[in-house]
Symmetry: none
Subunit: 223 residues, 2 copies
DNA sequence: CCAGCAAGATTGCAGCAGCATTGCGGAAGG
DNA sequence: CCTTCCGCAATGCTGCTGCAATCTTGCTGG
């Protein structure tokens, strides 16, 4: 589990990092709201722990700001401001839980677990073709729920085809999907990938076919 | 919004019904755990408010009972038993929140809202692969019900793999699961963890295998 | 309808990137 | 002070991948 801790008391933050670490939680720490948004852009956190009093402002303002970016990471507010109405305030701007300082690490962990007991992901994009399911985000492929592992380049080709299944994908598009602009291709490497991919899909009984459109590109469809 | 209130003090229950009613909440009330299960079968509630001290037993026992029926309705425990470790207890048997008496109705409402904002929770508490059961929230692992203790980092790797069993987990995802951004990796530390984890899983006869997908990541599946 | 040709398919091969394994020493915890 | 964990790095190995040679397919014009 990986969390973001937004807290300006260095001592507390360090102690928490250590304590949470013992529970197997990986903690990123920042003292400034300004950095927090950037960090959530760069990393995917399981949860965020947020202090209210921060050097650059009231922590609660961070919540709507974060939600506006479409992130629904659970947020637990940790603060000495623990009057009932202050708790209401915090929960109503979008915090998932509110915990007054001081607190036991045990309780924080329990609240973390409670908040995390929810579906892992938001919108997982799966593409189904034939008996095959492709998750282009996680780069995983299954046939009849059995994982199929493909070499990286073949995987990239397949994902690119799957994203536009039943439609022609230009040869150049495929090349772009597999090679970055630094890598140059001096041969029929792409054709070779297609060939090997076809063989593997056939062996796995994926129920799909990769068709060629002469002079244009390729196309993935059910068999 | 419709909720189920399980509470034996009639006065409090009535007062709450009225107060919640003013917030647009329809309340079903029962004083007995025995009735509660039946009521959840007949109605779909948005949330359940649960007292601990009840005439026919400890309220917390209701939670696993209800969960076993496949219901994932959020549960908020309302109780005078409000010591930190008692709260931990409540949350860990599956309550979504825990609120000590006495409380302001305002706060209860806020917590209700917070709990209802969360996508319905279906996340598995335990993941079974081969002969191994993993609890990613508590980070515990058993093989044939015998606890297996793993070093922290190996545990984190395993939990990350288990959460997406039978699916590829990107190398970078694994790194993020084990290291925070301050910790830098200058070597094949992750590979080493995988290697040692494999050995331990083999020794324990876990019946699982960690596969590598070259250039992509790793994947956990049954042997 | 056929010859000619261009585009694609297939496959062996060699090189090498990525992975597996393991010993070592420092660090942390008891 | 002893044990375990963990990062590091050296070593060996596997199999992906680009290349090129060869074979096949299907389009085209006459």
């Amino acid at each position: 589990m990986r969390i973001l801790l937004i807290e300006d008391e260095r001592e507390l933050a360090d102690a928490l990092s250590v304590a949470l670490g013992k529970h197997g939680v990986v903690t990123d720490h920042t003292m400034h709201l300004a950095d927090a948004i950037e960090l959530t852009r760069q990393n995917v956190y399981d949860a965020i722990l947020l202090d209210r009093r921060l050097p650059d402002g009231e922590g609660l303002t961070f919540i709507p700001e974060l939600r506006r970016t479409g992130t629904d990471t659970p947020i637990i507010v940790l603060t000495a401001r623990n009057e009932p109405m202050e708790r209401v305030e915090g929960l109503d701007v979008g915090a998932d839980d509110y915990l007054g300082k001081p607190f036991l690490v045990e309780e924080l962990m329990a609240r973390l677990r409670a908040v995390l007991r929810r579906p892992a992901s938001l919108a997982e994009l799966h593409i189904t073709v034939g008996r095959m399911v492709i998750d282009p985000l996680h780069l995983s492929v299954t046939v009849d729920a059995i994982p199929l592992d493909l070499p990286r380049r073949e995987l990239l080709v397949l994902a690119a085809l799957a994203k536009r299944k039943d439609k022609t994908v230009l040869r150049s598009t495929l090349e772009a999907a597999v090679y970055n602009y630094e890598e140059e291709i001096q041969s029929n490497a792409l054709d070779a990938h297609i060939s090997r991919l076809r063989k593997r899909l056939l062996d796995a009984g994926a129920g799909v076919a990769v068709h060629n459109i002469r002079g244009v590109g390729y196309l993935l469809k059910e068999e």
